[in-house]
C-alpha cells in the first residue's frame, strides 16, 4: 500500500494524480475463507481489519449486498461520544473513543475525527438529575463530561437561545469535550483500504441468501448471489438487516428495524462549532466541514426496511431546531434521507456468541452505531478470533434478555443515543 501523506500528494500533483493505487480491489470470491463477515459497513470492515492486524487472521471475506459503507455508516449524522451511564456502555464507547483518537494515523487515512465537543441540553430538573448522574458516573470511570450553566453553554455555542421565555428554557448542559464528529465515508474507506492491504477480500454486490449449517448445527458457509462460499466462522454485522440474516441461521434476535431520518441544510459559513443534542425537544445538530447543518431527526414509529419516512418526522425535528436556534429559521433543507436502524428492547447493542456454533453477531446499535465503530469492530474481531467475548463487551450478550440483566440506557438516560 502506498502511504498517504502531503508529500505523496505533492508528487502526484506533478503527474496529474495518475500514480495512486486502488484503495481496495474487487476480487472474485474464493471457495472458502477462515472467516466471513456479512456486512461491509464500518463495523464489519473494521472487524476484518482488526482480525488481520491483531489476531493474524487474514483469510477473510467481507460480503456486502450493496456498496461498502452504503448502509448506516454512510447515512448517519457522525456523532461521537462516550458519556454513557452503565459500565457496559462506558466500556465499549470509551474503548471506541480512544481508538477514534488515533484512527487516522492507524489507518493512514484521514477520518477527520474532530473533538469539537458534544453538548446535551438540559431543559428541566429531570434532565439535570439525569445528566449529573451521567457526569458523576463518567468521572469516576475516567471519562470526561462536565456540567455547564446556561451562560457557559451559550459561550460555547453563541447561537443558542437561552432566554427564560423560551417554551422549554435551558437550565444547563452536559459537555463532553472529547466528543465530536468524524467523516463517515472515510471510516468505511479507511478500514476497507487497510483491510484490503492486509489481504482481506471485500466482495460487494453480493447478497447472502442463506447460511449453511453442518450436521452438528455448526456453520459451514454462506449461500450468496455469487454462489456458495465456505467458512468456519461467520460474523454478522448487518445493522438494519440483522434480523433477516440471523433468521437464515434460524436465530431470532430481539430487534426492531426502523427508518431513522436525517437532513442537511445548504452550505453555510461556519456558524455552529460543536454538536448539540436535546432530548426534551428532540433534536441533534452539528455543522459539517462543507458547511451544511447536519440534523438528526427521529425514527418512524413502525417497522420498515424502506429508507423513506414521513415528512412529519422532519418537521417535528425542525420545530425544535428553530426553537433552540431561531436564526436558522430562514436556512433551507437541501437533502433528507433515511437509514434502517436495528433497535433492541433496552437500546443497547448485542455482541456475542449465538446458539449456532461458529456464528457471531454484532447488532442492535440502533441510532448510535457510528460512534462505536472502531471499538465495536475491535471487540468483535476479538470475539470471532477467540470464540468468546472480550472483557469490555461481555455484558452485551444475547442472554441478558432471558435473565433480565438489561443495559437500559433508554430508561436511565434522558438523552438520545
Amino acid at each position: 500500500m502506498r502511504r498517504y501523506s502531503v508529500f505523496a500528494i505533492a508528487r502526484e500533483a506533478m503527474r496529474a494524480h495518475k500514480g495512486w493505487d486502488q484503495q481496495w480491489t474487487s476480487p472474485e470470491p474464493r471457495s472458502s475463507y477462515d472467516v466471513i463477515i456479512i456486512g461491509a459497513g464500518g463495523h464489519g470492515l473494521g472487524a476484518a481489519y482488526y482480525l488481520a492486524k491483531e489476531h493474524g487472521i487474514t483469510n477473510i471475506a467481507v460480503i456486502e449486498k450493496g456498496w461498502l459503507g452504503g448502509g448506516n455508516t454512510g447515512r448517519n449524522t457522525t456523532i461521537i461520544r462516550s458519556n454513557y451511564l452503565y459500565e457496559e456502555s462506558m466500556d465499549i464507547y470509551e474503548h471506541s473513543l480512544k481508538l477514534w483518537e488515533g484512527l487516522s494515523q492507524d489507518l493512514n487515512y484521514n477520518t477527520m475525527y474532530s473533538p469539537r465537543g458534544v453538548m446535551m441540553l438540559s431543559h428541566n430538573i429531570h434532565d439535570q438529575q439525569s445528566f449529573k448522574r451521567h457526569i458523576n458516573a463518567n468521572r469516576l470511570y475516567g471519562i470526561d463530561n462536565e456540567w455547564l450553566s446556561p451562560e457557559q453553554a451559550k459561550a460555547f455555542v453563541p447561537v443558542l437561545d437561552i432566554s427564560k421565555t423560551a417554551r422549554y428554557p435551558i437550565n444547563g448542559a452536559a459537555l463532553q469535550r472529547r466528543g465530536g464528529t468524524a467523516r463517515h465515508d472515510a471510516v468505511a474507506w479507511g478500514y476497507a483500504r487497510a483491510a484490503a492491504d492486509r489481504g482481506v477480500h471485500i466482495i460487494q454486490n453480493c447478497e447472502v441468501t442463506g447460511i449453511r449449517r453442518g450436521p452438528g448445527g455448526e456453520v459451514q458457509g454462506v449461500e450468496t448471489s455469487k454462489g456458495f462460499i465456505g467458512a468456519k466462522k461467520i460474523g454478522v454485522s448487518a445493522a438494519g438487516h440483522s434480523s433477516v440474516v440471523m433468521e437464515m441461521a434460524g436465530v431470532r434476535v430481539p430487534l426492531h428495524s426502523n427508518p431513522l431520518q436525517a437532513l442537511v441544510s445548504e452550505p453555510l459559513k461556519p456558524i455552529f462549532p460543536c454538536v448539540v443534542m436535546s432530548n426534551t425537544v428532540h433534536a441533534y445538530i452539528s455543522q459539517s466541514d462543507k458547511g451544511e447543518l447536519v440534523i438528526g431527526a427521529g425514527t418512524d414509529q413502525y417497522n420498515s426496511y424502506s429508507q423513506t419516512g414521513g415528512l412529519q418526522i422532519i418537521t417535528h425535528t425542525l420545530d425544535a431546531i428553530c426553537e433552540l436556534f431561531p436564526i436558522f429559521r430562514r436556512v433551507k433543507m437541501m437533502r433528507q434521507w433515511g437509514g434502517i436502524t436495528d433497535n433492541t428492547p433496552d437500546r443497547s447493542p448485542i455482541q456475542g456468541v449465538t446458539p449456532v456454533p461458529g456464528l457471531f453477531v454484532n447488532c442492535g446499535w440502533g441510532t448510535g452505531g457510528f460512534k462505536a465503530t472502531p471499538g465495536s469492530a475491535n471487540l468483535f474481531a476479538h470475539l470471532i478470533a477467540r470464540g468468546e467475548p472480550h472483557r469490555l463487551a461481555a455484558g452485551l450478550n444475547l442472554d441478558r434478555f432471558r435473565t433480565g440483566r438489561l443495559i437500559d440506557e433508554a430508561a436511565a438516560a434522558a438523552v438520545a443515543h
Partner: protein, 118 residues
C-alpha cells in the same frame, strides 16, 4: 406519512391519528406465571421483524381509539389489509399477495436501487 384504513372508522386516515403498537397476534400466555425464562423472553422480547409481509397492530389513538391489526409490506410500506382486533390472522387474498410479491421483486429498498437502475 402513511395513509391507514381504520376498520372501525371504515375510512383511510393520516398516520398522524395512529400509533403503531407492535407485532400482532402475540397472545399473552394464559399461564404466564408458569412459563420458563426462555418462554418469557420469547413472549416479551422476540419479534419477527419481517422484511416483507408483516402483521402488526395499530391504535387509532386520535380517532376511534381502537387497536386493530394490519398486514403490511415492510419493504414498500404498502398496507395489504387491516382488520379488527380479536380476529385471527387474516390470509392475504391471492391477488393482493401476487401484487405485493411482484412489487417486492421490482421495488426493492432504496439501497438496492442505488447503483442498480435497470
Amino acid at each position: 406519512m402513511l395513509l391507514i384504513h381504520c376498520p372501525y372508522c371504515e375510512e383511510e386516515r393520516s398516520e398522524l391519528e395512529f400509533r403503531w403498537a407492535g407485532e400482532a397476534h402475540i397472545a399473552r400466555p394464559d399461564n404466564i406465571s408458569a412459563i420458563s425464562d426462555e418462554e418469557f423472553a420469547e413472549f416479551f422480547f422476540l419479534r419477527n421483524n419481517e422484511k416483507g409481509l408483516t402483521y402488526e397492530r395499530w391504535r387509532h389513538i386520535h380517532g376511534c381509539g381502537r387497536f386493530f391489526n394490519a398486514a403490511r409490506d415492510t419493504v414498500s410500506d404498502k398496507f395489504l389489509m387491516t382488520y379488527k382486533a380479536g380476529l385471527p390472522k387474516q390470509p392475504i387474498p391471492a391477488a393482493a399477495k401476487a401484487e405485493a410479491i411482484a412489487e417486492e421483486k421490482t421495488i426493492e429498498t432504496w439501497e438496492q436501487t442505488e447503483g442498480d437502475a435497470r
